[in-house]
Every structure is written in structure tokens, then in C-alpha cells.
Amino acid sequence: MKIGKIIAVSEVGVEILTDGAEVRYRDMLYTELNGKKYRFEVQAVEGSIVNAISFERCEGLRRGLEIYKEERGLSIEYSDQMLGKVFNPYGDTIDGTVVEDPHVRSVYSEPLTMSQIDIDGGILWTGIKVLDFFAPMQKGFKMGLLGGAGVGKTVLIKELINNVYKGMRSNSVFIGVGERSREGKELYDEMLEADLLDKMGMVFGQMGENSVSRAHAAQAGLTLAEYLRDEKHQDVLLFIDNIYRFIQATSEISAMMNKMPIENGYPATIESDVSEIEERINSTGDGSITSFQAIYIPADDITDEAVQTILEHLDGQVVLSRKVAEKGLYPAIDVFQTTSSMVDAEKIGQRHYELVEETIRYLNRYNELEEIIAVLGIEELSYEDRMIFFRSRKLRNYFTQPMFVAENFTGVPGEYVKIEDVLDDVEAILTGKCDEMPEDAFYMVGSMKGKR
């Protein structure tokens, strides 16, 4: 249906003078030029003037081109076959595959009501000792994943996919927003190699794409996750790398639309933009969505408006540290900064809670002792401190773990460790039952059950 003509063009969008046709926010429009289709999405309507953002580059667009309206807004085609496929932010596959007999779903969903949201998800054990112990998760949790590249983020993500799939038979969705295309391709290749690709759907709107693509990748990916939750009744694992890039893209768009910005150029609507995304990531009676969201910190400024706005929505954080990785302790998690709102005696039980507290106390003292020992030597320490020192080293080693997905490289078969075993082992180390064992016996092993 023809609705009007272009009257102005900027880098990210066009202004359209309509002939009085009805146009709504987020309607899809298109025009054709030299046989190429240009798609737009309505952002604002002002009388008979419509502001729309373009999915493609605007090169060559000119005043007077006729604009048509699509039957429906931006939507994504999917079916059971979405797993193992790679989509762009507009719902088209980009790996050369075709989705057969698809259902169609708008990428924008109605917000969940308070009654639909289920917050009493059971505890979700990942089988990864250090995560289960320090930052236990619940189904439907949102975890921030902080840490630079090259510290084992991908391996951790893969292990989670592997373990959670095994434990709950649930699939996962990976959304690449504004990150490196090279990493996207490498993740795809590694998934393929580790035989995990058919358990995962992927959506990419990477940093080489325009702001509109990057802003829409999150919506498209969430639609796939919601499909698994609502229609397949699954517990879904969702990875977003990187959620900050979503806000970055929205602020690019909003500035180009000449909207008044707040500090650092973020859009004034930043809170509602983040809420719109985050409120979709929830669990219902049908299934749950548990998410890991990587957060980029701009200019190393943790007080950044966007970072703070995202953090408000999260239930916990996992921090990967380069210092830990350099010591060869994998997964390289910084236990002092990794936490979740589940670390509460009422939720995980008195015993687990106390063990976490005691372990943190030991490791903290260990860091202090390391400096003293470097100068004075270990003989100068009191008996108690010496015990803390040796036991902490065992604890540190104990929290490493062979991974299933790294078996090809390490040659050590992966292990899934039950939380009961972790608690027993940690208690044994702390109370001195393992004092006779060498610390190497704790390195890169699963549970110590039967070995103590």
C-alpha cells in the first residue's frame, strides 16, 4: 500500500510526507530503487510527517521516492528448525539455510504481566564448582558477565550450554550485539566442532553493521528465546554479548533523529529502552529464560549511566579476571567479585552460606599472607596462618575444573560436579581433613569424593 513520499534523507533514516494514510509507531515501510528494496521502520509520526529509520545504508535515496507499507511490522520466521541456524536482526537466515514451514512472530512482544511472571524458579545447578558455590543461580536469573576477551569467556559459555543442556534438556539462544564479527564466526565454528550447534540458535548484529541492525539484534534474539519458552515450554539459556552495545546503538539512532540527549549522549529514554529488553527476559509458568549478559564498560567508567541502568536489572555477576587466568586457574573467576542474590542463608541453606563466608575469609587472608611470605618466608607465620595458607592453596586449586568442551585441548575429560560434593569437599579442606594431601591433588579434578 502506497502511503507517501520521501522528503528528507539523513545517514540513518528518512522523513516521509504521507498522503493521510494511517501509520503507526514501528510499522514497516519500504521503497524500491534500481531494483533494490530499502526497508524502514517508523520511529515517530508528527501530523502527516513520518520519521523512519532505515535497515540498509541510505546511499542513493532521494526526495520524491514513493513509500509503501508492509502488511506487518518487523517479524521473524521460525520453527523447530531455528536451532543450529544463524539469523540477522531482521529474521533472515545468513548461513544459507532455509526455515521450512515457519511460524511468524513479531519481534516486539507484549510486556508480561505481574501475574505471568514466575520468580520461584528452582535452583539451577550448572555443575561448575566455582559458579555453583559462589554464585548459585535460579532458573530465570540474569547474570552479568564481566571480563575482557581472552580470559575464557567463550569456554565458560560453551560449558554452560553443554551442562545445562544435559541437566535440563533445554536449548539456548546466542545474541551477538555490536561485537567483533571474527568472534561471532569463531563461536559458530567452535560450536560446530564441539557438536553443540544443534542446541543453539544464533542472531548476529555485529559492530560492522549499522546502528539499526545492532539495536534490533536483541529484539530478534529474544523472540527466538520466547518461542522456546512459550511454545516449546523449555527452560532456555540466553547469552547476550554485548548488552551495552544495544544502548550504544539506540543512542546513535536517537541522536540522528535529533532527539535531545542526556549526559554522554545517551538517549533520554535510556531507562525505558533497557526495561523494554530486560522485562522480556523473564520466566513464566510455561518455561524460564536464564540469561548471561556481557557488559562492556566504556572509558573504564563503571559509573557510566548505561552500565548502571543495566546493572539495576541483574541478579548477580560473574567476573572473569586476567590475573587468575595467568596463573592457569580455569575457569578464571575472581571469587571476590562474583556473587549473586542467592547467596542468602534462607535460599541456599545455612551450611552452604557459612562455607562461602569462611572460604572468602580464607582466600582474603591468603592474599595478605602471600605478600608477607614473599618478604619473610613461610616459617615466620603463626601456626594458624600457615594452615590458612596451605588450605587456601588447596581451595584455589580445587575450584579449577576440567571442562567437557575443552577436552580436545586439555586431554582431561570434563566433569559435572554435584553441589553436595562441592560442599563436602570444601568443608573437608577447611576443617583440615585434607591437610595430609598434596595441593596438586586438587588441581583440575572434579569432586574429591572417594579420593579423600
Binding site: G60, R63, R182, Y188, G208, Y296, A299
Partner: protein, 443 residues
């Protein structure tokens, strides 16, 4: 009176209806430095090339309801209000001649050493579509720079984007040039892209490369300080298009962009002059995308060719946590941080080994180099870590292991020193550092 106004309006309407005051040529109605506002040209397309007054070239950078904005790329004479602007009906494209190799050229296909245009120019899109994710391959072949601190410790692979960042006068450009010179005989095409550099310096670079025979496989695609900012802004994109042109023929390309901080400032200047909303540090909010879409063109393509990009960023006071720096760090696959302190100590190349990173690391090294590199890096980092603490301590009172560690570390630092244009082969590097690592075990 009423009738008078009505007559005027009717006359105007008649003219508009008969398109009497609408031209396929437009007129300049305002000039702000190199940004023109032009009336008329109703049918002009976004990014279309236009000619102004018969002597200047520009492109359409915004189409407003009643006027358009034109960014002037090249101007021979002054532009006046009322000058004619003619649309050409095609987007602005760069001119590039395949015989540019061993010349200093610009985006208009001009040889800047003699100011003549090549005869065999072809038109090149300023920006091609982004290379699709599925057409990329893992980066795994080493690009040898000949610098031990890079090849051994923070290696660069073909298709990698590795940032070189540091203060003024710390040898940033030198690392890029060393890398170019070391590609001799390795079948790599090099493109050096000075953005907003002074002519004197570019000429010096040209002569250095010429003297070492590196111009045989190098193009210098330059935008000088006194070229118009829109041309400066487009130059790195055009360089990437040139690189893509060679990559698609299955060749390996190394591109050094000097530097992106200046490029960011040029973009800020243009945006503010065009009246766009400023963001953090007054940079326009799309500043990340400006660099990400440029650097994302570096990749290992499935056709076998690759583009390796070494962008350079200048910092102030050694602070790499600035807005532009962190943006680019988050795009590239790693960074080489150069420190003024090391430079002054004479530890050249002045790589700050603690802050530098290669996100691909061992994946782009041969197994032999990888194994050695990992142990040297571990040793070096722990030495640098302890050096600061023990620098003042009396060596004789230290535990023997500590002493050994300190001596070994100092040996490594000495082994990493090398002067400019003294590229080492992987065999030399392996021999030197195997020696150092062995030597200390005997101490």
C-alpha cells in the same frame, strides 16, 4: 492590501507548480567552512557526487526538506553564495589506479609527488557492504613484524586488527613502518594511510621506505593536514576498499592507519559544523560505528586473502582509558601500548608489556614460537611485577630463586631491545630467547 498579498502568493504558487524556480542545478545559499547549504536539486540522491561552480567536488551528506547539505572534498577556488551546484547522478566514488603501488596517492587518484592523475584509474566504492560473518575464517597465519616483542610475546596474525597506542614520540609510527619493511619478499601488499599528517613527515616516511626497497610493494594513500576534512575523513575507508580489492584477488594486505584519534577529531569537526547533536566529549554518538565499520573490514576471508589492520591512536599523558582509546580497544583484537617511560629508559621498542594484549595470542604462532613465547611472557610479566617492588632492595640479601628471577628478567628485557629497521627472523628470535631461557637455569 489583501489582494496584493494574494497576488504574490498566487504568482509564487504558479511558479512552483510550473517548477519555475526549481532547477536541476542548485544554488549555494550558505557556506560554513567546507559545508555548503544548497537550494534546489530536488532529485539529488544521498551521497551523490556534485560539482560546485565548475571547479570543486563534493558529496551530498544530508537531504533536508527544503535544502541539502554538501560536504566539499576538493576545492580549487573559493566558493561563493549563488554558485551553481550540478548533480552528477552517481554516488561519490574514489579513483584508484592499480599502478599506485610505490607511489604516494590520494583518494582522487592523484600522484601527490608530482600532482598528476593516473591514466588508468578505476572507480572504487568508498564503502562496500560489510563482509558477511559466514565469509570469514579464523585468523591463524602469523604476520611477522620482525620485532621480537611482537612476534614472540604479543603476535599479530594475518587478518588481525592490532592497535598501536601511546603518547607522542614513543615510536608508534615506527612499529608500523618496521612491520611494512619486514614484509619484503613475503608477498604482502602494504598500504600506509597517513590521516592529517604534515607533508614533510609523509615525505620522510616515503624516502625511508624507498631506501629500504619497501615501496616496491607499498602504497601510501595519504590525506594531508591541509586537505579538506571530508576528504580526510573518507581516506581510511577508501584505503580499506583498496585493501579489499587486493584481498578479493587472494592477496594478503597490511594496512597501517596513522592515526585514528585525528580521524575521530575530523569526524567531530564535520558533525558539529553540520549541526548534529554532540555526545560524550562532544564526539558525535556514532563515533563508535565510524571506527567499528572501518576496522571490521580487516579479516581473513574465505577466498584466502586477508586484511591486517594496524591502527594507531595517540594518547595524552599515557592515559589509555580515554573515550576514543577504549572504543577502539574494544574493536581491535588487541593492543600494543607504548610507554614514554620505557622509551626514555632506552627500552625500544617501548612496548608496555603489562598493558599490551593480543586476543588471538598463540593461535597465530607456529607451535615452536608459541611454546617459547608463552614461557618468556610468563617469566617477563612476573619479573615486571616484582621489579617495581624490589628495585630498591639489596640483591645480595635476596633468596637465590628471587635473584635468579631478577637476572633472568633483566636478560629478557635486554633481549627484547632492538633498533629500528632491524627485523629479526623467527629463527633468530627462537635462538636468542631459547638461549636466555636456558642460560638462567644454569645460574
Amino acid at each position: 492590501m489583501e489582494q496584493y498579498v494574494e497576488t504574490i502568493i498566487r504568482d509564487k504558487m504558479d511558479k512552483i507548480n510550473s517548477r519555475g524556480n526549481v532547477y536541476e542545478v542548485g544554488r549555494v545559499i550558505s557556506v560554513t567552512d567546507y559545508i555548503l547549504e544548497v537550494s534546489g536539486l530536488i532529485q539529488v540522491g544521498f551521497n551523490e557526487k556534485v560539482l560546485i561552480g565548475g571547479h570543486s567536488t563534493g558529496y551530498v551528506s544530508m537531504i533536508r526538506r527544503n535544502s541539502i547539505l554538501v560536504s566539499v572534498l576538493k576545492s580549487e577556488k573559493s566558493i561563493f553564495i549563488g554558485d551553481e551546484v550540478v548533480a552528477t547522478g552517481e554516488p561519490f566514488r574514489a579513483s584508484f589506479s592499480p599502478s599506485s603501488i610505490s607511489h604516494v596517492v590520494d583518494i582522487f587518484g592523484t600522484d601527490r609527488m608530482c600532482d598528476e592523475t593516473f591514466d588508468d584509474c578505476m572507480e572504487l566504492e568508498v564503502e562496500n557492504e560489510t563482509i558477511p560473518i559466514m565469509d570469514r575464517r579464523a585468523v591463524c597465519r602469523p604476520l611477522e613484524t620482525g620485532i621480537a616483542g611482537i612476534d614472540l610475546i604479543y603476535p599479530i596474525g594475518k587478518g588481525q586488527r592490532q592497535l598501536i597506542i601511546g603518547d607522542k614520540k614513543t615510536g608508534k609510527t615506527q612499529i608500523g613502518l618496521d612491520a611494512i619493511v619486514n614484509q619484503k619478499g613475503k608477498d604482502v601488499i602494504c598500504i600506509y594511510v597517513p590521516v592529517g599528517k604534515i607533508k614533510k613527515n609523509v615525505k620522510a616516511v616515503y624516502q625511508e621506505l624507498l631506501r629500504r626497497g619497501a615501496m616496491d610493494y607499498t602504497i601510501i594513500l595519504a590525506a594531508f593536514n591541509d586537505d579538506l576534512p571530508p576528504a580526510l575523513f573518507l581516506t581510511p575507508y577508501v584505503a580499506a576498499s583498496v585493501a579489499e580489492y587486493y584481498m578479493m584477488q587472494g592477496k594478503d594486505v597490511l594496512m597501517v592507519i596513522d592515526d585514528l584519534k585525528r580521524h575521530a577529531n575530523v569526524h567531530r569537526e564535520i558533525s558539529l559544523l553540520s549541526g548534529k547533536v554532540p555526545g560524550r566529549d562532544a564526539y558525535p554518538p556514532d563515533i563508535f560505528y565510524v571506527h567499528s565499520r572501518l576496522l571490521e573490514r580487516g579479516c581473513q576471508h574465505k577466498c584466502g586473502g586477508s586484511i591486517t589492520i594496524l591502527p594507531i591512536v595517540e594518547t595524552k599523558g599515557g592515559d589509555i582509558t580515554g573515550y576514543i582509546s577504549t572504543n577502539i580497544i574494544s574493536i581491535t583484537d588487541g593492543q600494543l601500548v607504548l610507554s614514554k617511560k620505557n622509551f626514555d629508559k632506552g627500552e625500544k621498542p617501548a612496548i608496555h608489556y603489562g598493558l599490551s594484549v593480543s586476543r588471538l595470542g598463540g593461535a597465530v604462532q607456529t607451535p615452536e614460537v608459541k611454546k617459547l613465547g608463552a614461557s618468556v611472557r610468563r617469566e617477563l610479566l612476573s619479573y615486571l611485577d616484582t621489579r617495581e617492588v624490589y628495585e630498591l632492595a639489596n640483591v645480595d640479601e635476596m633468596a637465590p630463586e628471587m635473584k635468579k628471577k631478577l637476572f633472568r628478567g633483566a636478560d629478557i628485557i635486554r633481549g627484547l631491545k632492538q633498533s629500528k629497521y632491524a627485523g629479526r627472523t623467527p629463527e633468530q628470535i627462537i635462538r636468542t630467547f631459547t638461549g636466555i631461557m636456558k642460560g638462567q637455569e644454569e645460574v
